[in-house]
Symmetry: C2
Subunit: 344 residues, 2 copies
Amino acid sequence: MIVIKTFLFKVINLKKATIKDVAQLAKVSISTVSNALNGVNVVKPQTKARILKAAHHLNYSPNLMGKQLRSGQTNTIGVFTDSVAGPYFYQLIETISQAVAAKHYGLSVTLANNHTALMNALLGNTCDGAIIFDHRVDDRDLEHLAGQGIPAVMLDRPVSGERLSSIVFDSFNESYLATQYLLKLGHRRLGYLAGYDNNRDNHERFSGFQQAILAAGLNLEDMVVLKGLFEEKASFEAMQTYLTTATAQPVTAFLAGNDLSAIGAIKAIQAAGQHVPTDYSVIGFDDIEIASYFQPALTTVHNPIAQQAQLAVTELIRLLTTKQWGQQQVLPGELKLRDSTAQC
Amino acid sequence: MIVIKTFLFKVINLKKATIKDVAQLAKVSISTVSNALNGVNVVKPQTKARILKAAHHLNYSPNLMGKQLRSGQTNTIGVFTDSVAGPYFYQLIETISQAVAAKHYGLSVTLANNHTALMNALLGNTCDGAIIFDHRVDDRDLEHLAGQGIPAVMLDRPVSGERLSSIVFDSFNESYLATQYLLKLGHRRLGYLAGYDNNRDNHERFSGFQQAILAAGLNLEDMVVLKGLFEEKASFEAMQTYLTTATAQPVTAFLAGNDLSAIGAIKAIQAAGQHVPTDYSVIGFDDIEIASYFQPALTTVHNPIAQQAQLAVTELIRLLTTKQWGQQQVLPGELKLRDSTAQC
DNA sequence: ACTATCATTGTATCCGGTTCCATTACCAAA
DNA sequence: TTTGGTAATGGAACCGGATACAATGATAGT
């Protein structure tokens, strides 16, 4: 009999202890337990001690679902994204996590594989506010969010509204200045390694590139656009193809859609027996970790990712705690001069 | 009056629509709404259509807290970690996210800044099962978890139990083999760039290093241990100090606790005007992205991170769906021969 | 001793869903 | 017309907590 009892005890114990169990063991009501555990200062110290002891004995930890359902607050900030791949994201999330912790919020990163799952998570009240880095979220989705009163900060698109802010990089100007720098070095025939067609950064960077060229009084027709697709491999192949079909008046400098693209291009140039920056200058975007380790060290545009992350959290908490409107913030980047660019 | 009404309407509308609102608008009970929206096949098509229309009109999306509280299921797998920094984590999480999506689970990554927050999140029923990559979780915590019936897979420590599995790399053997390789190249005086004292990987790697040396009949006293702390800067300084105090019979090869450490050491060697691998051979661990871009390309131990991630998800789902016991799995790494090692 | 006051504790409701079970409506067979 | 059966819908309990409010008990003032 004793054996069976022990077994039953174990099975019963497998079920998570609830506030009811704690109340029963401490011989008080559940409301008193709730008060004691949440630091409401009305419980007699003696009773509180008994409750804490009971809670500890039962390995009690509150069910967050119940807690959050009733209180309507999660005390959690959610980051929603379609991809955690790449160095950008983890630099971002690292600072976000620190900033969120400093403000005594919890952090939850949700990776949704499709749009429905994303919106469900976003609208499912699993967080008090959202930081969104997801290209699939369109304006209609944002309207939904706003309608449900969930504050959000967008990182990949400039938007703003009643409870909606955005913090983006100044891709156009960065590109404009980088291109200007290549022109200043004496290059007159430039190439652009394009990223994805529907990507905002790609679009802005390409526009900046074009505008700088026009502003210098040069002809866009002399320029070359290669499909780099933001990838090393695609850029390598695109550059390889270009090099074999090079004309008499070849391009001497390339602006790449991002660093990976720049690296792929440089590898193709090197594989063809030519040199960077002697034969070609190349500039990237993002200043990923590899950029400074690469040979030659990459001249690239550095975006203040940590600053963006910090601002995103600050701004979201502002939206959460005040009833003020959201705003658009644009952060300027910086051209890091390294060894992949030289005088023409 | 109309203006005020409109205003009131707006304010009311700001509140999220609940299942009750949908029921009211569709003129049915909430249970029917629930059935209709969850695909229970008892609702008359006509009614269902009316409900769907109402739900859409109200921008209704269910509150996940309520849903999960009642059903006791979250359909979500949680990843719990103390740090997302570094390339290891994002390679890991990328594969995890794909695997989880393929199994039709949601994914939530929780970054807890302190132990209490971590355990609260872990024990708060916010996920059906957990993948834990957090050095702060000790055996007592795991007992808690087991006691609450939450299945978990540990990634940084070999453990197993009723609902607990682990998937770790074979750090000891990897280190043993890497050291053996250095010995095979003719090196007789070796150095180890140590990581954190309390880190399991560091401990295993150091043990493997020592055992390989002993097995070769060499004397441990001839070996050198530098404090690299898994960081580039600390390793740079440790190596710099070592080089200035070098003896007549210097070490010719180093095993570093990780790649960053190896890179720091190599930079110090180069800064001192010497060369790798001509003067010193250096081996790292992890095969981070930079390793192959670095000059010289780093000889390092490659761990099958994607495989670990895939197995973690598969194993966790096994624990979730069957009542079988957990297990320990150890994955072998592979020594990637590149350009930072040479014959003595 | 009686009562007002305050410190504690208990009761009941609610949060937003799911789900079991009862109820209703409808139709065909007797 | 009655009955039986099934399809469709509604009612109510419940998940685990928080919280407003009621109730209790103790203490002190008169």
